[in-house]
C-alpha cells in the first residue's frame, strides 16, 4: 500500500549565510507518512541542519523541498501542525516559565480552544511522566526532565511528523526506554518520526536508516539490511555496535551461536539454555 508523501527534498543544498562551505549538498530524499527514519552521522555532519529544513525553519539554498501539510496561508488556524521538532538542547526551546504554559505554547499558536489546550497539556505531560508538575517552574527542572518537557511540548501540537534531534541525550536509561516507548506509540498512531542520534541502541525500532557524512547521504537502507552489517562495515561509517550485538556477532563468527539466532536477549538466552543448560 503506497503511503502518502511527508517530505521530499530533491537536489537540496544548504550553506549558512555568511559562511562559504556547503553544510548539505545533493540531498535527494523522500520520506513517506508514517515512516520511522533514523538519521545517523558524526558531529557536524549536518543532521540538525537537515532536520531544520524538514521542519521548514530553513529553506534549501539550492534545489527544492516539499513538506506535506505546510501551506503558507495564515487563515488556516486551528489545524494540526505539519511537524514538531524537539531540539538538541532543551534550554533552547523553552519559551514559558511554568510547565503547563510551556506545553500550551504550541497549541495556543495553532489556535486551539482553551479546553482543547488543557486536554492536550494534561495528556502530554502525563505521557512524558511529568503529571502533577503543571504549575512548577521550568527553571527548577533537571536536564533530563527538560528534555521530557520538550517532547511533551512537541506531542501537544499533535503533529503529522515528529523530528527528534538527539532528544534522548540527557536521559537516564530508564527514561530513555520510556521516551522510546512514547515515540513508538506516536509512531503506531501513524505519525512520521525522524530521529537523529549516534547511538544504535536508540534506533532498534526505526524502519529505515540514513547516514549523513559531510553533508551527503552516505547510505539509506531498511533496518534489516542495516542490522545485517558487520561491525567492521559499521566502523567504516564511524558507527559502533552496542556491546550485546557485538558479543552476538563474535559468538557467531566463532561458531558458538547459529546465524539464524537473532541478536535478542530472549532468543540468545533460549538458545544457550537449550544448548548448554542441562
Amino acid at each position: 500500500m503506497p503511503r502518502e508523501t511527508q517530505f521530499i527534498l530533491s537536489g537540496a543544498e544548504f550553506s549558512y549565510p555568511g559562511s562559504s562551505g556547503k553544510v548539505l549538498s545533493g540531498i535527494d530524499l523522500e520520506i513517506r507518512a508514517g515512516e520511522w527514519v533514523a538519521l545517523l552521522g558524526s558531529n557536524g555532519s549536518g543532521k540538525t541542519t537537515l532536520l531544520k529544513i524538514l521542519s521548514a525553519l530553513l529553506v534549501p539554498t539550492q534545489g527544492s523541498s516539499f513538506i506535506s501539510g505546510s501551506s503558507q496561508d495564515d487563515a488556516a488556524c486551528g489545524r494540526k501542525a505539519p511537524c514538531a521538532m524537539v531540539f538538541q538542547n532543551p534550554e533552547d526551546q523553552i519559551v514559558a516559565s511554568t510547565l503547563e504554559e510551556e506545553v500550551a505554547f504550541g497549541p495556543e499558536n495553532l489556535g486551539c480552544p482553551a479546553e482543547e489546550i488543557r486536554r492536550r497539556v494534561t495528556h502530554s505531560l502525563e505521557a512524558c511522566g511529568l503529571s502533577g508538575m503543571e504549575k512548577q517552574l521550568v527553571s527548577s527542572l533537571s536536564g533530563g526532565q527538560k528534555q521530557r518537557l520538550a517532547l511533551a511540548g512537541a506531542l501537544a501540537m499533535q503533529p503529522a511528523a515528529i523530528l527528534l534531534d538527539e532528544a534522548l541525550s540527557m536521559l537516564d536509561p530508564q527514561s530513555r526506554r520510556a521516551f522510546t516507548e512514547i515515540i513508538a506509540s506516536e509512531h503506531a498512531k501513524g505519525r512520521t518520526i525522524v530521529q537523529v542520534t549516534h547511538r544504535i541502541e536508540e534506533i532498534r525500532l526505526a524502519e529505515r536508516m540514513l547516514l549523513l557524512k559531510d553533508g551527503k547521504i552516505e547510505f539509506d537502507m531498511p533496518r534489516e539490511d542495516f542490522f545485517r552489517m558487520r561491525s567492521e562495515d559499521l566502523a567504516a561509517f564511524g558507527l559502533e555496535l552496542p556491546p550485546f550485538e557485538k558479543l552476538c556477532e563474535i559468538l557467531r563468527i566463532r561458531g558458538l551461536l547459529p546465524e539464524s539466532c537473532a541478536a535478542d536477549i530472549g532468543a540468545v538466552e533460549t538458545y544457550i539454555y537449550d544448548a548448554f543448560g542441562k
Binding site: V95, G106, N109, A114
Partner: protein, 270 residues
Amino acid sequence: MANAYKIALGQFIPADTPVHSLDPRAKIIMVMAVIILLFVTHTAAAFTLWFLLLMYVARLSKIPAGVLFSSTKPVLILIIFTSCLHIFSVPGEKLFSVFGISATKEGFILAFLISFRLALIVMYASLLTLTTSPSRISDGLEGLMSPFSRIGLPSHDIAMMITIALRFIPTLFEETSRIIKAQESRGADFESGGPVKRAMAYIPVLVPLFVIIFRRADNLAVAMEARGYRGGSCRTRLNPLRWRKCDSMAVILLGVLSALIIFGERLLVR
C-alpha cells in the same frame, strides 16, 4: 548565589492562593494605582499603613516577608545615595557635620520618608511579579494595551517581548555564574582588590555573556517559529483572561482602603 538573585529579582513563586489567581489586569492596575498613591501621601503614618497592607497581601499570597525585603536590594545603592543627599542638603536643625557640611534633623526625616517610599514602590512591584507568572503579566499588559492597538500600538509584540525578557532573567544569572565559575577555575580573581579592581574583573565576563545571550535569543526565535508562533493573530490561550467578581471586589477594596489612608493623613496633618 543564583537562588538569592532569583529571589531578589522578584521571580514568580507558583502557589495556589487568592492573590495568585486574581486577573493579572486587576493586579497590574492595583499596583500601578498604589505606586501613584504613594506619591500622594507624605507621612510616616501613611507609609506604615501602606506597609501593613503590603504585609497582609504578602501573607495572603504566602510570600515570605524576607523575600519581599530582599527585593529592595537592587535599589539599595540608590536609597543610600539619595538619603545622603537629603541628610546633608536639607536646611534645618544641625546635628553634626562631616568635612564642614552639616547634617540636619529635617534632612534625616526626609531621607527616611523618601527611602520608605522607594522601598514600598519596589516591594509592591515585586509582589506583582512574585505572584504572577511572566506569561500572565504579558497577557494582562496585552489586555490593558489592547484599546491602543486600534491606533497602531503593537500591544501583542510588546507583551511578548516583556514575557521573554522576564523568562530570560534566571537564564541570565545561570549563564553569568557559569562563566564566573569557569573563569575562576582557570585562575581569574573576583574577590581581591579594591572596588574598582573588582569591577574591572567582571569585564571579561560580560563579553562571553553577550555572545551567549545573542546566540540563545537566536535559538529561541527559531524554537518559537518551530512551535507555530506567528505573532498574535489567531493565537488562543490556555487560561484566557477572565474578569471575575472577586477582581472587581479587590479593586474596590483597594480603592476604599486608599481613600481611608489618604483622608486619614489629611485629617492628621491638619
